[in-house]
């Protein structure tokens, strides 16, 4: 077993353990911190696969953006110290049963499937190629989805401001 394989299994164990702690810990703030570690582990996995741009985006957007947003909203809703109500025993039992059986079924499918050999081309996820993929003037590029995502982000931003804005008092 080479160092690269050992690194992969360490990263995988880290992601799974912190993921399980995210969904089982009692305090909401601790769940957010475990989620932070899980997302950092996924960024490490992207680094391990030599997809550095995706790892950087993962760290910037998820770790730097979404988790900070979640922690802010935990503080704004005053949930940081209280224990969350534990899930109903019946519900967690059935959810665990469904999830374990579905995961086992999917893993069986994965193991029995014949994976074709990938081509021998070099995988080159450089920023140059990503730029050509997203906004180049070729039929294969993703210009329309790129524009749609930018419009979506604008709409989401305006929607967030409108939803979270305080209503003006009536008598003013």
């Amino acid at each position: 077993m080479s160092a690269s394989a050992i690194a992969f299994y360490c990263i995988a164990a880290f992601i799974l353990i912190t993921g399980i702690l995210t969904v089982t810990t009692k305090k909401l703030f601790r769940a957010a911190i475990w989620l932070l570690f899980s997302l950092i582990g996924i960024a490490a996995l992207f680094f391990w696969m030599e997809v550095e741009f995706a790892a950087a985006v993962q760290v910037i957007v998820y770790v730097g953006g979404i988790v900070v947003l979640i922690i802010f909203s935990i503080f704004l809703t005053n949930q940081e110290g209280v224990n969350m109500p534990s899930a109903l025993t019946k519900r967690s039992l059935f959810a665990g049963l469904a999830v374990v059986s579905a995961a086992a079924y999917t893993c069986t499918l994965l193991c029995n499937h014949y994976w074709m050999k990938g081509s021998d081309a070099i995988f080159d996820p450089s920023v140059n190629n990503i730029g050509y993929l997203l906004v180049a003037n070729t039929p294969e590029s993703f210009v329309l989805p790129f524009e749609l995502v930018s419009v979506l982000l604008l709409a989401a931003m305006i929607g967030c401001i409108v939803i979270a804005m305080k209503a003006q008092p009536e008598n003013k």
């Binding site: 969350m84 374990v100 997203l134 967030c160 979270a164």
Partner: protein, 104 residues
């Protein structure tokens, strides 16, 4: 890198997806449900990059889809948190079970 079979990478993302699904089914706090949702979205990102890198290395379209998914996940999290904060302001409670004002 090549000695790791593709199945192991896909099993990792499967396990992460179903951990997120378990959290989504059992949590009652809306912020905790949102966190489980983020785990599920991330496992899909891993899948896209694994398929791209190991089965179709001559293109980088899976990586492009991963970037789009991350952008949409950011928008979704922002809107969800705006809704949760507004709900908390109105009812002082963000349990999913208590948000039934629209139910008849």
């Amino acid at each position: 890198m090549s000695e790791i079979p593709v199945e192991h990478l896909l099993m990792l993302s499967t396990a992460l997806f179903f951990i997120g699904a378990y959290g989504f089914l059992t949590r009652r706090n809306m912020i905790a449900m949102l966190m489980s949702l983020e785990l599920m979205l991330n496992s899909v990102n891993i899948n896209f990059i694994v398929f791209n890198k190991y089965l179709f290395p001559d293109t980088i379209e899976g990586l492009g889809f991963t970037i789009f998914i991350i952008a949409i996940a950011a928008a979704e999290a922002a809107v969800a948190i705006a809704i949760i904060i507004n709900l908390y302001r109105n009812t002082k409670n963000i349990d999913a079970e208590n948000a039934d004002h629209l139910k008849h």
